[in-house]
């Protein structure tokens, strides 16, 4: 959500390896621009203050909560949203391990897990926990998510 209707300017954002034109004001948050201007609704709003992680995306390899980032901060950065992931091991693993139910937290979890797998292919339990505790899943008991991420991490070994 944009909290002001201030002056808007045209910028380019690099989203999922495409240059996309957006018209934004400085106060627009990245989540809203992705959803409302670019139609990338895979990133979900859940709290708009960083508590839930449903809006997690990838900026230059780091998972970021897109409700806590201004769109203008993302200029000149590589933005990857869930729509930018195709046939990745973690997506396949989520399906096979039934690591989602309602699916609303799933894009955020997958983006976080995917970045974790890239950055820490041999992540310990502690590291996994430190990364994944930033997202809330209300349907599963986290067991299936744990199995899904570990099965990808361990297959890397």
């Amino acid at each position: 959500m944009s909290l002001s209707e201030g002056m808007k300017h045209q910028f380019y954002l690099n989203v999922n390896q495409e240059e996309r034109s957006v018209v934004i004001s400085p106060s627009d948050i990245l989540l809203s621009v992705l959803r409302e201007q670019l139609g990338l609704t895979g990133s979900k709003p859940g709290c708009y203050n960083g508590d839930c992680g449903a809006c997690t995306i990838d900026i230059n390899g780091t998972p970021i909560k897109s409700c806590l980032m201004l769109a203008i901060e993302a200029i000149d950065k590589n933005i990857t949203t869930i729509e930018g992931l195709k046939d990745t091991p973690i997506q396949k693993s989520f399906v096979e391990h039934f690591a989602f139910q309602c699916g609303y937290c799933t894009p955020g979890f997958i983006m976080n897990c995917n970045a974790l797998i890239q950055k820490h292919p041999n992540a310990s339990d502690e590291v996994i926990e430190e990364w994944l505790e930033s997202n809330i899943c209300r349907c599963t008991g986290y067991k299936e998510i744990e199995e899904a991420v570990k099965s990808v991490l361990h297959s890397n070994k």
């Binding site: 959500m1 944009s2 909290l3 002001s4 209707e5 959803r35 409302e36 139609g39 990338l40 609704t41 895979g42 990133s43 979900k44 709003p45 859940g46 709290c47 708009y48 203050n49 508590d51 839930c52 449903a54 949203t81 869930i82 729509e83 992931l85 195709k86 997506q91 989520f94 399906v95 096979e96 039934f98 989602f100 139910q101 309602c102 699916g103 609303y104 937290c105 799933t106 894009p107 997958i110 996994i128 926990e129 994944l132 505790e133 997202n135 809330i136 899943c137 209300r138 349907c139 599963t140 008991g141 986290y142 067991k143 299936e144 998510i145 744990e146």
Partner: protein
């Protein structure tokens, strides 16, 4: 069985891991207006003045709804103005709604509305509401319209009373040799689904009202819009796409009414309203709280003789579904035991708290916490093993339930088998408590649970099946995909029934009340049961049509035919057959003549012989069957600072028949997780004025990754004879016993009776040391 029981991948799996799954808020269209609510900071106050002048000055504001008297709403008692009028009755109640060109404008304008309040005395708990001189939340209960079988008590805060009168209490107490009495209490909490509620409403030129909502109850929205606003029911269309978590919270109809009124205020233009997290937690209905008093007696041999129970449910400011929740709490007011003498009063109390929606378990985790905690207190007094006490009393065929229904092998699962299996999983014979270091003990706690449904006696479900030209089939059902995977399970049932590949079955995930057959509500773990029965009827309808057509073409009797593997074939000569794909859109003879046409299957199911409860005794048949379970928790408790870690959580549940193993495990484990979270940490913190201090996910903090225990689940399969493939309900049952099991385990570890929730170290400290927190 070819398909039933297997962990078939869910039909919407790919959509959900690629971001293409669409939820209500993902439907973007321009131009659309946006609504924003103004909510009350007070729990109980008169509204003396509302000043809209500054808000109107913001360009882009299209309508403001405030201070207007709209029809009263409420599912059983019509006591709730959709937007507060003259008075607010809970912190978070909607006082005004702004409709504007963008969310930003709406929000800015909402901050400029000035509301003057005159605070009133607050009713801050059900116990307080029950006191003789308590302030009355609703002065004129009697004037409210209500449905049949609701019994508000004038000049009190009692919205409804359900009475259970079974057996002879005098005789029960005479036979009692050991008795325990205890009080329990916990405040309301919340569902906290990750998707906050969202509604889009528009009224078209021909007066058709189109609602898109994140709801479990599309057909109830349609019905209630008709009842409240006298809209022709055929002119109401409700769309529900995928829903991002519900747990009962999206069964209530609230935000849809506000969205409708907002659209009406702008001449029917499309208006979207998306709850902020804070609104979703406290403005929309919450998880019910409870105060309870219980007296339970048994003879020296451990046989339960009498139970006297008072449940005061915290229905909050408006009764809506809380009446029904309190009724459900009466129906299963004890654990799953043979008890011949029961007196229970389950009251739905008005308080100045947010009002209650259904919550996974529908009153059962709440009453099981009370009853099963009391069972452990009784076992302790008896000096009997808590498992032994439960085994002695476990309900069996021939016994009767609290509503005096006779138990048979089908309608109630096998409690004893669940207990015995749990005993093994928990390694109970190794002891239930063990000192593991100077400061830590390991402790186990268990409980038993049961749950029937108490949905409307005439609740029904319908399914339509349509063929594609290649012989594949589309399933159209009114069940909402809220995360439970029910619609994929329906596909499995159909694959089993028609002996076909489940990949040849497509499922319409979205519900549209105009083209989708009615399903009462996606609640009460009844999706697979009711829609499953409807689906099997629809499959029979297809089979009949296929056989009729084939009998004509193959010149044989239809009783000689069989359907399966994509063919209709002669039973005794299977190489004489027709491919379904060649006849499902009609059959054409070589000369061009055609017969048949697209085959469309239809099936319905309506609950059988369910009754209202007798107003004096509660006698009656509440629903089709009881799922039973035994559950346990093992934890490590720190004797110095009263912190603890839940190490493992176990459930043995009699699901009748496992339809999809991983889906069933997911439901049970997900329920357990939510139950541990509710019991261990979740509550709204109310100050003395009834204001909520923690309406955010950083202060209202559900379980997170890494805080989860090891889960162990085993199934018992005692079929319910009239269930689809014998399956019982399972969606809620993982949750129900977790509060009691956690409390029993912690009470044993801390050597003190912990009869309140949530079970945070501070509560243990207060209970153990008699400490008082006077910070509020």
């Amino acid at each position: 069985m070819e398909t039933i029981g297997k962990s078939i991948i869910r039909k919407e799996a790919l959509d959900k891991v690629t971001g293409t799954a669409k939820y209500t808020s993902d439907h973007l269209s321009l131009p659309m207006l946006h609504a924003k609510m103004v909510i009350s900071p007070y729990a109980h106050a008169n509204i003396t003045h509302i000043d809209l002048s500054e808000a109107w000055k913001i360009p882009g504001v299209r309508a403001i709804l405030a201070g207007e008297k709209f029809p009263l709403t409420g599912e059983e008692i019509r006591d709730r103005p959709p937007i507060a009028y003259d008075k607010v009755r809970y912190c978070g109640e909607v006082v005004a709604v702004i409709v504007a060109d963008s969310p930003a404008i709406a929000k800015r304008a909402s901050s400029l509305i000035k509301v003057n309040y005159e605070p009133l005395p607050v009713v801050n708990s059900p116990n307080q509401a029950y006191e003789n001189n308590a302030p009355v939340v609703h002065e004129n209960i009697d004037s409210y319209e209500r449905i049949k079988n609701v019994y508000p008590e004038v000049n009190t805060n009692i919205a409804n009373r359900t009475k259970i009168r079974k057996g002879d209490m005098e005789l029960g107490w005479q036979r009692t040799e050991i008795v325990v009495e205890a009080d329990f209490s916990f405040s309301p909490s919340d569902h906290a689904a990750m998707e906050t509620r969202c509604v889009i409403a528009e009224i078209r030129e021909d007066e058709t009202v189109v609602i898109t909502s994140s709801s479990q109850s599309p057909f109830m929205i349609k019905k209630l819009l008709h009842v409240y606003f006298h809209i022709d029911i055929g002119k109401i269309v409700v769309n529900v796409p995928l829903v991002g978590g519900a747990y009962g919270g999206k069964a209530s109809v609230q935000l849809e009414l506000i969205a409708y009124l907002a659209s009406k205020a702008v001449h029917g233009r499309k208006v979207k309203i998306l709850n902020s997290r804070e609104e979703d937690l406290i403005t929309s209905p919450v998880h019910i709280g409870l105060d309870a008093t219980i007296k339970l007696g048994c003879s020296r041999d451990g046989v339960l003789q009498a139970a006297e129970i008072l449940y005061l449910f915290d229905g909050g400011a408006y009764s809506d579904k809380a009446v029904d929740i309190s009724r459900a709490g009466a129906v299963d007011c004890t654990g799953p035991y043979r008890i011949n003498n029961i007196q229970c009063d389950a009251l739905c109390m008005y308080t100045n708290h947010p009002y209650a929606a259904p919550f996974r378990g529908f009153g059962h985790s709440e009453v099981m916490f009370v009853f099963e905690r009391t069972m452990d207190m009784l076992a302790k007094k008896l000096k009997m093993d808590p498992i032994e006490l439960r085994l002695i009393n476990a309900i069996k065929p021939g016994d009767t339930t609290p509503t005096q229904l006779a138990v048979n092998k089908s309608n109630v699962g096998n409690v004893s088998e669940c207990i015995l299996k749990l005993k093994k999983i928990m390694n109970w014979d190794e002891g239930s408590i063990k000192q593991v270091s100077n400061t830590k003990v390991r402790s186990k706690g268990i409980c038993c649970t049961w749950k029937n449904s108490t949905i409307d006696p005439d609740a029904s479900s319908g399914v339509t099946l349509t063929f594609n030209p290649d012989g594949s089939i589309n399933i159209i059902s009114g069940v909402v995909e809220i995360g439970t995977g029910t619609k994929s399970v329906l596909a499995q049932m159909l694959a089993e029934k028609l002996k076909m590949d489940v990949r040849q079955i497509y499922v319409q995930m979205e519900v549209n009340t105009k083209s989708t057959p009615d399903h009462w509500k996606t609640v009460s773990s009844r999706g697979s049961f009711m829609a499953g029965r409807a689906l099997l009827n629809a499959a029979d309808d297809i089979i009949r049509q296929l056989k009729d057509l084939t009998a004509c073409i193959l010149r044989c009797s239809k009783v000689d035919l069989e359907v399966g593997l994509g063919k209709v074939y002669l039973k005794d000569t299977p190489d004489i057959f027709l491919n379904i794909k060649d006849i499902c859109y009609g059959y054409m003879y070589p000369n061009g003549n055609a017969i048949g046409g697209q085959i469309i299957g239809r099936g319905t199911y309506i609950q059988r012989r369910v009754t209202y409860l007798d107003p004096e005794t509660g006698a009656g048949n509440p629903g089709p069957e009881w799922t039973v379970a035994a559950q346990g928790i093992e934890l490590e408790f720190d004797l110095l600072d009263y912190t603890y870690n839940v190490i493992r959580a176990a459930t043995v549940v009699d699901v009748g028949k496992v339809l999809n193993e991983k889906t069933a495990l997911g439901q049970i484990i997900g329920g357990m997780s939510m139950g541990i979270s509710f019991a261990g940490r979740e509550t709204f913190q109310f100050d003395q004025a009834g204001r909520i201090l923690n309406p955010q996910l950083r202060t209202y903090r559900p379980l997170r990754y890494g805080e989860h225990p090891k889960y162990e689940v085993e199934f018992v399969e005692t079929p319910v004879i009239d269930g689809p493939y014998g399956a019982r309900s399972a969606g809620e049952h993982g949750l129900i016993g977790m509060p009691a099991a956690l409390a029993n385990s912690l009470s044993a570890a801390a050597e003190v009776d912990l009869n309140q929730l949530p079970l945070i170290p501070e509560l243990i400290w207060k209970t153990k040391e008699g400490a008082v927190d006077d910070s509020l």
